[in-house]
Symmetry: C2
Subunit: 340 residues, 2 copies
C-alpha cells in the first residue's frame, strides 16, 4: 500500500510543477521536463495509481493531474525538503526589523508587512498574550480638572489606557497618590486577586480599581482584538480566486480573523510551524486556502501567533521558512525587550 520511490518522486514533481504554474500537469510535460528516464505511458500508469490512492485528481477526462489536499499534505509532510531561508532573504528581513523602534505595535505591523511581501500572501499577526494578565503599574494623569487618563501597564509591558471623567476636580498630586496606593496594593496580582473590599465603596480608588479589574478581565478574555493584517491584495492576485467564488468569504474571514484564534490555540500546543491545507475539513470558508502559521514568543507561556494565508497551491517550503524565520525574529526581539 506504500508508495514506491518513483511514485513519490512523481508526486513531488507534479506538485512542484503545478505550484509553479497552475495548469493540470500532463504525463508528457512531466517526462519532457524532468529526466525521469521513463516514457509518458509509464508516467501515466503511475499517475493513475497516485490518483487511485487519492493524491491526485482530474478536472476532466482529458486533462492532466492536479494535486488533492491529501496530495499537498503528503508533499508537505514527506516530500518537501525543508530549506533554510537563503541568506540574502534573511538579511532583507532582518534589516527591516532593525529599523523598528522597540515597540510591540510597530513590530507587529512590520511583521505582517514582511510576511505578506515575502510570501506574496495575506498575513496575520496576533498580539502576544499571557494566559493570565498580571498587574504591573498604574498611572493617573490629569488631563483637565475633571478628566484624567488612566494608564495601566500589565506584566510584560502591555499598555492599556482609558479616559476617566471625574465627578469632582482632582489635582495631579491626589491622582498620583491614588495610583501609588493601588500600585502598592496590587503589585503582581492576577485579575481574580484584585480585591475591592479594602477600599471605600464610593471612593475614586474603588472606581479606578474596578476599571483596572475590568480591563484585565477584558484582556484575559478578549479574542482577535488588535490583529494586524497585511497583503490582503495578494489574495486577489492568485488565479484561483480570479473568478470570485467564495472569495468574499475568505476576505471576510481574514478581516474578522476569528479562525486564527482557534488555530492559534492548537499552534500553541504543538509548537513548530503548522500547515493547514484547504481548511482541513473544519473551516469550510477556507476551502481553497492553506494557512501556514507558527507561534512566536520563546519558551514562556506568553506569546502570539503569526502566519500567512494563500491558495492551497502555495510554495509551502518557502512560506514555511519565512514564517519560521519571522517568528524566531519576533521571539528574539521580545526576549530582548521584555525578557521572555
Amino acid at each position: 500500500m506504500e508508495l514506491t520511490e518513483r511514485q513519490r518522486m512523481i508526486l513531488g514533481l507534479v506538485i512542484r510543477e503545478y505550484i509553479q504554474n497552475p495548469v493540470p500537469v500532463a504525463s508528457k510535460v512531466l517526462v519532457e521536463k524532468y529526466p525521469l528516464g521513463i516514457s509518458p505511458a509509464t508516467a501515466r500508469n503511475e499517475l493513475a495509481v497516485l490518483e487511485e490512492r487519492g493524491y491526485l485528481t482530474h478536472p476532466h477526462t482529458s486533462a492532466g493531474r492536479i494535486p488533492t489536499e491529501k496530495g499537498y499534505r503528503y508533499f508537505v509532510e514527506y516530500l518537501m525538503q525543508q530549506v533554510e531561508l537563503p541568506l540574502e532573504e534573511r538579511l532583507t528581513i532582518r534589516h527591516q526589523f532593525y529599523q523598528v523602534h522597540a515597540e510591540m505595535d510597530q513590530m507587529m505591523r512590520l511583521s505582517a508587512s514582511v510576511l505578506a511581501r515575502q510570501t506574496r500572501s495575506a498575513a496575520l499577526v496576533t498580539p502576544p498574550r499571557a494566559p493570565q494578565s498580571r498587574y504591573k503599574h498604574l498611572e493617573l494623569i490629569s488631563l483637565r480638572e475633571t478628566v484624567a487618563l488612566l494608564i495601566l501597564v500589565l506584566q510584560g509591558g502591555l499598555v492599556k489606557q482609558q479616559v476617566l471623567t471625574l465627578d469632582a476636580p482632582y489635582t495631579q498630586e491626589t491622582l498620583s497618590a491614588i495610583a501609588g496606593k493601588l500600585n502598592h496594593l496590587y503589585a503582581g496580582v492576577t485579575v481574580d486577586q484584585v480585591r475591592l473590599d479594602v477600599l471605600g465603596a464610593e471612593s475614586l480608588e474603588a472606581r479606578v480599581a474596578r476599571i483596572v479589574r475590568d480591563i484585565m478581565t477584558q484582556e484575559d478574555h478578549q479574542t482577535s482584538q488588535g490583529i494586524y493584517r497585511d497583503g490582503l491584495g495578494y489574495i486577489l492576485e492568485t488565479p484561483e480566486f480570479r473568478e470570485a467564488r467564495s472569495l468574499r468569504q475568505v476576505v471576510d474571514l481574514l478581516e474578522r480573523g476569528m479562525f486564527f484564534e482557534e488555530m492559534l490555540a492548537e499552534a500553541m500546543e504543538r509548537g513548530g510551524v503548522q500547515v493547514i491545507i484547504g481548511g482541513e475539513g473544519r473551516w469550510d470558508e477556507l476551502a481553497d486556502c492553506s494557512v501556514v502559521m507558527a507561534r512566536y514568543g520563546g519558551e514562556s507561556r506568553v506569546g502570539g501567533a503569526l502566519g500567512v494565508v494563500g491558495p492551497t497551491r502555495m510554495p509551502y517550503a518557502h512560506a514555511i521558512s519565512v514564517v519560521r524565520y519571522v517568528a524566531e525574529l519576533m521571539g528574539d526581539l521580545m526576549y530582548e525587550w521584555y525578557g521572555y
Copy 2:
C-alpha cells in the same frame, strides 16, 4: 446651456434608478416607473440632450443610459436632497458607541466597523492628529533590572510607548525621579522646544529626552500609521468589481491608505463632508470608486478623518448622512473625553 427642470428631474431619476440596480436605464422603464407624464420618445430626446452635455453615457448603441462622473457630481451637488439619517439608524449607531470604553483605539475600530456595516462599503478611520504634538507627561517603569518601559503622553491623551534597554541597573525610584525631572522641564513644549543641552550628555536623562524628541518628531511627521479599516469585503460584493479589473489596485490602495492622507489635508481645509467621485482625475487607481469622507474633531485643530470607499454607483445621500453622523459622534465623544 442650463438644464431645464425636466432634464434635471430625469437625470436624477436615471441616477437613482441606476444606483438602485446597476443596469443601464432605458427610456421605457423610466416613463413606466415614474409618473413623468411623457412618452418614451420624449424621454429619449431628453436623454440624448443629457448625454450630449456629458452627464450620461451609453455602453453601446442599443443600451440604456448610465451616469458619467460628471453626472454623479451634478447629482451630488444639486439634485440629491440631503436627508438627516432616520432616527432608527441614528439610534442603532449611537447605541453601539455607548458600549465602547473611553479609549481612542477602540472608538476608531468601532467607527470603522459601523461605517462599513451601515454603508456596506469599505471604511477608513485615521487617528486624530494635532498639527504640533505637545509634551504632557512621561513615565518610566522598570520592567526588569536593566529594562524599562517608557510611556509618553502627549497633550490630548495620545499615548506612546517604547522599551528601553538600560546600560546599568536602575531602581524604580531613580527612574521615577528622572521622569519627574523631565516632566517638570518639558511641560507643554513642542518638539522644537525640547532642549537637550541642559542635561549631561551621557546621562540617562539625556538619552530619554532624545527618545522623547524622536517620538514627537515621528508623531508630527508620520502619515498613515494606525489607520483603521473595515469592510474591505464589501468592495468585492459590488457587481462592478466582480470581474476584477483594477480591483487589486483598489484593495492595495485601501491597505496602504496613502491617498487618504492626501484627501484628509483637503478635507481639513474645507470642512463638511467631501465627496470624491471616480478619483476626480487625481487618483487613477480609484477610477470606478467614490470616496465620501469627513473630518472629525470639533473646532480645534486636532482631529482626524474618516470615510467610506465604494463604487461610483454609491447611495450618496445615505453614505453622506452616515459619514456625517459618525464624524459628529466621534467629535462629541472626543470632546467629552479630552476636551477638544
